[in-house]
Each structure stands twice: as structure tokens, then as C-alpha cells.
Symmetry: D2
Subunit: 379 residues, 4 copies
């Protein structure tokens, strides 16, 4: 099953890390650390092997992939020697990166995107093509009646003006082109009723949103412990310090609001109540891709005795995200191949704010993922 | 179902906290925080209600319960005003505490213990009686051939000398008296082939060992996250600082070895390999019951990129342990009532080093516990 | 030297803790922990002994001191049994607390305040009277030309409207009444050219501002280490979580800005440059007076090698602040007695944002304090 | 003033980092971060410039410097590209590294060492030569009467057997050869009465011991804060996790004892009492040179209110130590040039366990260092 992975934001840190890493894995120069679908649990699931993946993508910037990869090598996000060793493979992917098209109306833009997707699928003889949004986080988009109805939306796209935020326009184009869609960011993406209708009309699945790579990942593993032990979480506060492109974007109030709202859901879902405390994201440029998150959990035990837990996470965001992008592309392609349509709630394991499910506990998400993958296996 | 809870080490911090807390819960002066079996999941399980519990116990010291409770109130382990309010209830339990008997041979001691248990069961008209070991941690006991065979053991107990460590002698007496047994400490307790034979002969269940209340609890919640994300844990190091009675005991090399060995199992079980790093327990008297554990986890992600996580746990040991003692007594009594015999692996959720199961992931232990409790419900 | 301590905000947590603590110290029921001026270094400095202090004050609320003290006892800020034992002493201070006066113009209010101060000084036969602002933090006050010139200010105060923020009006009244003034908060207080002129005209000293009790205290001790070792601090980020009255106030954007600005000065002063990173204050009500501050310091060493330091401070704000209020009152009274006039830069040891000095290193502030106190000693 | 720096253990991580770094600094390829004596305070002090330093040394291993430097580059201790760029300079230093000599008696070994030192000094036309011990930590040496008297020692050295531990034998040889000596390790080195006599006889200065690069550095900056604020430190516990060569050595009980004893002195010196708590060093091989230290400080404030502070230090040991080795060589050479003899207590700023001074507060050590350096300046 030849599987295309179309990265929207291919020249960003996550995209480039995925491209370098996929090349290195195929060349046998790296281990499969961080790749969930390489665990033994997925061996029989009928998901496309790493060798079957073909990467292309869109970006609004035109810095060469090789240059971006070297920057990541210098920053310690990927090993610098891998970047040199993989230069031929990186150059090959470079030929499949297109500038993000413009147009007079959003309908025109969508058609140009669809043309790029179709051309890539045909030229590379792909069985499935998954579009993955790894672009920077958008500000929260204003509501619009056209978001709720597909016909209204189609008409509105032909007018001038911006009825869909960029991530949703990409999802629209992907669906129209018969591609599945994964939103790795907290942007709106496919999460509009009109787009859900379109996905069902075109019989494609989609997944999202906001890849779970740090503080929220840990929270989804840890919060169930407090619930299961009947401990009362009085407050759970968090601070996230990060630099890099996404850090700068998240420092803008609109995008920050989108992200912190996505982050706050897991605690309330798991605990059944909302503890006090806020979750902050602050931009500290010099930290680059190496994010630090600190959480303080203040809780009560038997007879009200007060206790505390603290945790610090020093993670490399792109190194955590990139293998999940590959996992998601493989799982979504397999789901499409197996005839799955609409939101893939069973992929909630990968997301801060999973679409199509209310499950927020990591362990339950894991159990759901294994069951899902097993069910995809050919009989 | 009137259920006796016989605390071996009843005057210790955990025992006294359980006694004060149970009284306060019944009087409606405290919430059920920390009580696992008060969660909605257990509502239909047919476990004895808190009102059905009757507490007695053994201890080698004779400090009055009220005095010990006041000490815990002054230290902030239990609310000081609850201790005053519950003085009548505490005095009532005091009448059921017996000195730990002595004897010429261990068989004599066992018989005296059995007599105390039987007298308590009869006088209080109990349907079930669960013996719970909350005494201080013993040094690791030397092996003995009599541990492997019940007949040999029975003969050896009639000789002078100590063939069983104290915790195992209690388990022996409990089983002989038809009581179930729970070991909340890392001591040997019922974990000898000869005692397992005895439990099966007498058709009683047992559970253990070493209540999971802090660092190991967190590890069992968190380690699966690393495994499921295919992240490689290079080292996982831990430091535990605690005072209090158990802290002093654990500072002794023998007991320390017993405890740190119990602590190290969870990582290897969950990850499938043993990361580098050691786990320390250090006695810091002034910290009292308020334990601090610090863990450093050094791990690798995609393409080998190195990352770190740290966590600190400031917990009150007795406040974390006491409600679990009540939970375990209720669940074990219900299991005995339902005809369960031998090790209760399904109670592994509560233990650092669970008997009768290899399951070490907290989420999987939780799922097993719910299934177990549901299965105990009368048809 | 009978010394009056007039607390503006006497019924707040800091004020009440100081009142209870002073009573307990005199009664021999508490040790002098936290009292800087009780260290041997100050033995010869001629500062008034604790027995010579007489406390009064203003407040806008009228909750009885005893009730506020009991609340602090329940919250663990002061020992509950001390509150009971000191009820007579607390009642005695209660007789010297006045409601903060109102008036048609700010000049009228100032005169009423002066009358309260003068009455207290005369009735209690005080040699010196120090007014200490321990009220909640004000929003940053807008500038006004009258702030720069005493004559203009005096004229403006007689008009309707608010030319001075409340803390500055108190400083004005204190100076006019011949009292020295200490600002323990980040409010404007005496830090206006017109008020400085007034202090010099009336020949009284003043000190401030913003008592250094947690994160900034640690920063002033630690930042010199990085400077002296020629390590480059790339970013220094901080998060402060606190509840309590001041926490709520600091959650308001205006007051928050005043406080975080005060906090950011120490790093730039000590290091000679401003590292990246922001300092946050977040209100988490349930934490009450027990503040947690977390700092992440990212720094470079030899050949640019990157390293990190983290620190967490779990402090009880009022317990840290209250003894410093007593210290400052004693030192300022002694300074006034010794003829010191204007800003007391030598008290910078106590403040986040010291007036009258640019010294920000704790060690240098300490050396300056000792020299200052020694110089106050009678020949 | 041409100044020789003779590194005992030149092929170790600290030695090699110093060699690579000195080359890079001279070539203008690195900034002077981490170099204390490059701060403006030392500009007038008459210490030899970096260009005047000439490095040689002894080692028991013979791995080429270039290979060791590449290993450090791969581990991220020094920038890999600097290692390539400096290969000619590293090769130049390689010509001045000698194998540590053997001999029939310790007197013979000392003479061979002296011959190496003298040959280096003459061939390189050095004005001063400083011997710096950067070898692995020795086990604590047993006492010997010959340690107390120089004549007895000289006689004993001519016998077979080992009267001096290796570090002390080096100090002996250095002094006999008219060289000054710096012990950067916690080994015995020059800290024996007989060797002090020898240093005075030969009119050379010496300094030590145990470079202060992490936990103890922070403690010496922070502990004075608690003392100056009259806060009572109830316990101060520490855990150090490190890999690398010194980590392995420190895992041996004897060396571990030497190091933890050196670490514990600072708190008692600064606070005036010994708080509870232990300081641990544990070997975690995979951490390599990147040491993590965690400290928990439990303290009481006003009226006994209990509070806590925690700190974590993630430092690169060799990157922290190497510039201090250069600083110490420059300062000691200047001191010798200025006629200073015996222990240089004023260099305590650099050491965990400073010889010749009882001063343990970092700020006071800093003040002493500046005064010392200023005093060395030519009139």
C-alpha cells in the first residue's frame, strides 16, 4: 500500500524532523524510538510499512529543506551527522514540496491545493494520501454560519473574503480530493459540521487535534491516578516555556488561548471536576525546541491532609512530535483503506483535544488504539 | 456482614490514622477522600460498608491510642480537632487492642495469637475477620527449608528458635484461625510456599505486599506512558526522604534492602528492561510522616534525542496508607465471603510488590480491580 | 526608647501575624526565628528591644483581630494554640486599631490620619513612631505633576479628586506628623519627589519598598553566583502561585504589573544585562498564604555548553513577612533616633525594589545592613 | 610572565576540556564564559594573560588527546567543530604530556616527576610552573606519622611501600621542584603538615581542594541567605547523580566518603549548626558528564511555620571545572610571583573544602578573592 504523507508546513521543525527521521529509519541509521506503530502490538495491524511512505507537502516559506535540517542539526534536535548522511533523500523530498497556492477566492485556493494533491498522488502512484497539518497554530477563528452547513459553505467559498481559517480550507481541499486529514495542531482544521459532512460525503476519515507531546501527555497518564485513588486535586497549575517557531506563535494571545483551552480539557474530563489553577504558555526564544513544562498539583488525602506533587518535563518538541506524525499518517491511511469514514476517535491517544471521543485517560486511549489497530488487520 | 479488621501494629501511625479516620467517617465528620472503595465503581460490589467494620489489633508497645492520636494531630497527619471529637470511639477500640503474645516456641505464640483472634471474632459476632499487617518493616528473613513445606513448617514451629519471621508467624496464625491476611508492608508475611499451602487448606484468601502510596504509585502510573510512546528510559533514579517510625526502620540496611528491592520491580515489569539508576531511602527524622520522593527520568526520543523528566512527591505517608488499609480489609473480607482462596492478584492496584500477579501498570491493575469487585457482587 | 509601630492594613495577614508573633515572643512562647535583628550582629546596635514596641494601626475592614488570628491559626500560618494563649494581648492591640479615615479632600483625610497618629503617640508616650504599610498592593498610579513638587502637591490635596494614591497619602500624613515611614508593599508610598522633599523638610527617614520574602530573595542570593562565575544566564523565568488576599489583588492586571516590574529589577541589576524569560504571578485561591514559586534558569558555561538550574520555593508569605515588619520598624526607629533623614538605602536587604540604593546582591545588602546598624549604636 | 600549567590527569575530561578551551580562546573561536579571571575585576591584578599559558602534564593512560577531545565533542561537553578546528593546537600540547613515572621507591618516583617538571620548565622557558591535580579522586588515605614531619617523611619515601597517596606524592615533587600546586580534587594532595612545611621551606604557595562546580557552589551561595534571615534549616538533603570517569570512581565507597565529607562542611560552617539530612553521590553511567544534583531544604520561619525549598542543578561537570583550572593556574602563578608562600586561603571561592581558611560563604569568599587579586597587582 503506497501511502502519501502530505505535510502542510513541511519546512517547519516538525515536518523536517519527520522527513530526516523517516529517511534515517529506512537507511537503517536510526532506531525506531518514539515510533508507536513500530511497537510489537501493531505488527499484525495491516498498517503500511515505513518503506511504503512517500512524503510531499506545502509551505508558505521557501527555505530549502536541507538548510532547515542543518539548522535543526545545529540545535541538537536531530543528529547533525544524520543530516549530512541523508542529503540525497532530503533532496528527493524537496522535489515534492510546493508553495501554498493563492487565489482570488478561497474556492480557487482549494482547487489549486486539490490539483497539487492529485498530481502528487498520480505521479507517485499512491494508494492512499493523508494530509497532515503541521503548520503553526492559528488564532482562534471567528464563528460563521457557513461552518455549519456544507452547501452554505460551498457558496461562501466562492465569494471574496475568508470564510474558513487556513487549516480548515486545507481540510476542505483534502476531503474534496478524496484524501484523509490529520490535524496535529490546535487549529480548527476539520472540526466544523460542514467539513464533517464533507468527509462523510467523500467517505474519508479524519483525526485530530493538537499532538500530545509533553505536559498534556503526562497529565493524561497521571490524572487518572488521582481519580482512581479518590484523592482530591485542589489545584493543578502549569507553566510551559518554549522558543522555536511555534513558541513565538503561541505567544500571540489568540493562538495562546486556543492552546491553553485545548490543554485544560484533560483534567476536567478525567477528574470529573475542574481543579483551580491556570496553565500558561510563555515564549522564551533561547530555549528553542527544548520545551520545559512545570506542573504543581496540590491535593488532599484522607481526612483532608494536604499534599503536593511537582513535575518538570524537559522535552524536545519536534523530536516528540515527528514520529507521531508518521504514526498518524500510517494509521489514518490504514483506516481509510479499511473503509473508515469521519472522525477517528480511536486515535485520541495522540491528541490533546481528541475529535470523536470523550476519552481523556491515556491508558484507556491506549487500550482503544490497540483495539482499533487490531480491527484494521485484513481478515 | 460484620467485618473485623485486626491491625498488627495497631498503635503505629498507619493503624492509628485508620482508627481515627474510620471513626470520623462514621460520625460524618470527614469526607471519604482517599477511600478507593467509596468510589461509585464499587457501589454494587457487595463489599461491607464502613459501618460494618470493627477494629481490633495487636501491638508490642502499649502507648494509649489516644496519646498516639494526639501526637499525629500535633504533627498535622490528622486534624487535631478530630482527635478530640473522636475520643470516645478511640477509647472503644482501645479495649480491643492486645499485647502481641510471647511463648516458648513459635507454635505457642501462634496459638496465643489465634486465641486472641477467635475471642475477638466471637465476642464481636463477626462474619469475617481480616488480619492486616501494618507493623514496621522487618529485615529480609534468611531462607529455611521449612518455608517450602507445610508439614515441615509445623514441626519446626514446635522447636525452639525462630523459623518464621514475625510477619509470617502472624500470617500462619491468621490462616489457622480461618482469617484472611493482608500484608501492607514489604515483610515476608504470607509469601512462603508453606503458608500458601496453609491458606488453601484453610480456604482463605490473602493479599500483599507493601502498600503503594508514593513514588512507586506514581511510577506505576507514569512508566506505561514511556512504554506506550516507545520512548527509551535510559535511567530512572529515585531518592526517598522520610522520618517517622518506618523511616527509622528503613534506615537499617536489612529493611532498606527489602524496600528498595520491592520498589525496583515496577519499572522492569512495565518497560521490559531495567533502566540504569538506583532508588534510595534515607531517614531524615525531622520530616516525620511527610515523605519527599524525587525521581529523575532520563530518556531518549526520536533519533536518539535526549530528554528529561523530574518529579517530586510531598506526601503524608500515613494519610495515604490508612484509607487503603480500610479498602483492603473490605475487599478481602468480601473475597473471603465470596469463596476466594489463596493470593488475590487482583488487589495489585494497592501494592508495590503484588502477590499473585505480574501486572505492574496502574491502569491495568485498576481495570483488574474493577472487574474483580464487580465479580464479587451477589447475583 | 518606646517605639510605636503603626500598621496600615493591621487586620491583614501580615499585620495580624506580626501582632500575634510579637505577643508570643514577649511572652516567651516563641523563638525568634525569622527575626533578623535578633541575630548576634545587631546586639550592640542600639535598636529598641521587642519589649519596647507598641502596636496600633489603621484598616478599612473591621473584622476583629482575634477572629483574623483564628483564621490564620486554622490555615496553619500561625500555631492555633498561640492564638488562644495570646487573646488578652491581641485584645489590647485591638484598642489601638482605627478605621482608615475618610474626608472631603485628600488634605482632610491626611489631617485625620495625622490626628490618629498623634493621639497614639501621645497616649502611649512613644519616643518614636514608625508607620508601616502592609495593606494590599495598589494598582500602578498614574503620574501627576503635583508628585514632583511639594508646594504643588499641598495645593492639589486641598482640591477634590485623588492626586495621591492611598499609600502615598499615608506617607504624606506620616511625614507631616513627624513619623518615619516604611512601605512593605510595591505601592507608590513615599517614592515621589514631593514626598522625599517633605521627609527631608520634616527630618524623618523612610524605607521601602516591597518586602523580599520569596522568589526575589532567592534570586538576590543566587544571581551573584552566576555573575561571579562569569556564567551567562540566557533566560531566567519565574512562576508564582499564591492565594490569600494579596494573591487576589495581584491577579488584577494593574497590581500584577507593579509587582512583576519590581521583581524583574534584581536580575538586571546583578547580572548587568536582562536575561530572556518572564516572571508571572498567578492567583490560585486554595493555596492561601502558602506560595509556591518556581524558577528555571538556563545558562551557558565554558565554550557555550548549555546547562540548567531549577528551584522551587514553598513559603508561607505572612510568616516570612511578619518578622521583617518588626525588624524594619525597629531599625527605622533607631535610624530616626540617630538623626537619619530621607531614604534608607541601607535597608535594601529587606526589599525587592529598594529605595535609595542600586545594590541588588543580597550579600552586599547584608554587609551594608550590618555596617548601618553598627553605625547607629550610641558611642 | 610565561606560565606553565602542568595537569596531572591531563587526558581526563577536565584536563582535555581545559586544553581544547584554552586553544579556542586564544584562537578567538570561543568567548570567555566561565573564566572568572576574565571578569573586569581582575583586569589590573597582574595575572598572566591566557596567551602566556603553556600546558603540559602527566597521565597514566595514553589515549591521544585528540581522541579524548573527539569523545567529549560527541558527548556535547565541548563543541565538536572546535575539536576539529583546534587539532593542530591539541597536537602541540600532546608533545608535552608524559606518562606518570614509576620507580622502586616513592622517592624515586618523586625524582622522576621533578625531572619532568624541570625539563618542561626549562625547555618552554617558563617563569612560573603550577602543577594542578585533575586526576580521579583517590580513596581516603590512611594516616601515617610520616605525614606530620618533613624529615620523617623524606626518610620514609626512600623505603619501599607507599607512605604518601599519589596526589600527595605529586605535591611533594612539585614543591621540591619549586612549583606551586593546586588540588582540584578532594584527594589529600598538599594537606599534610609535612608537605606544608616543605612548601614553606621551598617558598611556594599551594591551593585546594575539590573544585566547587555544582551543588556545593549553590549551597555556598544560598546557605548564607537562611542564616542572614534567621531562618532555621531543619534538614538539607542532597542527591548527586553523575556518570563519567569521576562518577565511576566516586561510586567506590572510599572515594565517595572523601567527597561527601567535603560536601557537608559548607552548611555547618555557614549556618553554625549541622542540619539533618545526608548528601549522596550515585553513579549513573549514562548521564556521563552531565550531572544532576537535587537538594531539599526543609526550614522553619516565624513562630515555627514550616516551609521548603528544592533545587535541581543540571550541569556539565567538565565544562564547569575546566575554566576554573585555568583561573587557578593564573592566580597561583601570580601569587608565587608576588612571593606568596603556603596555603592560599583567598582562593577558597573555587573550592568545596578550602585550605587555609574557614570562610564558607560564597559572597565572603568572592570579596576575599577580589581583595587578594588586587593585592597581587604590581605597584
Amino acid at each position: 500500500m503506497r501511502t502519501g504523507v502530505w505535510l502542510v508546513g513541511a519546512r517547519g521543525s516538525v515536518g523536517v524532523t519527520a522527513i530526516v527521521g523517516l529517511s534515517a529509519l529506512r537507511a537503517g541509521l536510526a532506531e525506531t524510538i518514539g515510533c508507536v506503530t513500530e511497537l510489537p502490538h501493531f505488527r499484525e495491524a495491516g498498517i503500511p510499512p515505513l518503506d511504503a511512505l512517500v512524503v510531499g507537502g506545502h509551505d508558505i516559506v521557501d527555505t530549502p529543506l536541507q538548510k532547515r535540517a542543518e539548522e535543526l542539526g545545529a540545535a541538537g534536535v536531530v543528529p547533525a551527522d544524520l543530516v549530512s548522511a541523508m542529503s540525497a533523500e532530503i533532496a528527493e523530498v524537496e522535489t515534492d514540496i510546493r508553495p501554498l497556492p493563492g487565489g482570488a477566492t478561497q474556492a480557487d485556493i482549494a482547487e489549486a491545493v486539490m490539483a497539487d494533491l492529485t498530481e502528487f498522488r498520480n505521479r507517485r502512484a499512491l494508494d492512499e494520501l493523508v494530509v497532515v497539518n503541521v503548520a503553526s497554530t492559528e488564532p482562534q477563528a471567528p464563528g460563521d454560519p457557513a461552518h455549519d452547513d456544507l452547501d452554505t459553505l460551498r457558496a461562501a467559498l466562492r465569494q471574496s473574503g475568508e470564510v474558513l481559517p487556513p487549516s480548515s480550507l486545507i481540510a476542505y481541499a483534502a476531503f474534496e480530493a478524496g484524501c484523509s486529514f490529520v490535524d496535529f495542531t490546535p487549529s480548527t482544521g476539520a472540526r466544523l459540521p460542514a467539513l464533517d459532512s464533507l468527509a462523510r460525503e467523500r467517505r474519508v476519515p479524519y483525526a485530530g487535534s493538537d499532538g500530545k507531546t509533553g505536559e498534556t501527555l503526562v497529565r493524561s497518564a497521571l490524572a487518572p491516578m488521582f481519580a482512581q485513588r479518590n484523592l482530591r486535586v485542589n489545584s493543578w497549575s502549569g507553566t510551559n516555556l518554549l522558543g522555536g517557531g511555534d513558541g513565538a506563535r503561541l505567544a500571540e494571545p489568540g493562538a495562546n488561548a486556543a492552546k491553553t483551552q485545548s490543554k485544560s480539557k484533560v483534567l476536567e474530563s478525567v477528574l470529573g471536576y475542574r481543579p483551580q489553577g491556570v496553565t500558561r504558555i510563555d515564549f522564551v526564544e533561547e530555549l528553542g525546541d527544548f520545551k520545559t513544562a512545570w506542573d504543581l498539583i496540590s491535593f488532599s488525602g484522607f481526612l483532608g491532609t494536604r499534599m503536593r506533587m511537582e513535575l518538570t518535563w524537559h522535552g524536545c518538541d519536534s523530536a516528540l512530535a515527528a514520529p507521531l506524525v508518521l504514526d498518524l499518517a500510517r494509521l489514518t491511511a490504514a483506516a481509510q483503506h479499511a473503509g473508515r469514514v469521519g472522525p477517528l476517535g480511536e486515535l485520541g491517544f495522540f491528541f490533546k483535544d481528541p475529535v470523536g471521543t470523550a476519552e481523556a485517560s491515556l491508558a484507556d486511549q491506549w487500550a482503544g488504539l490497540i483495539e482499533f489497530a487490531t480491527g484494521l488487520a485484513p481478515a
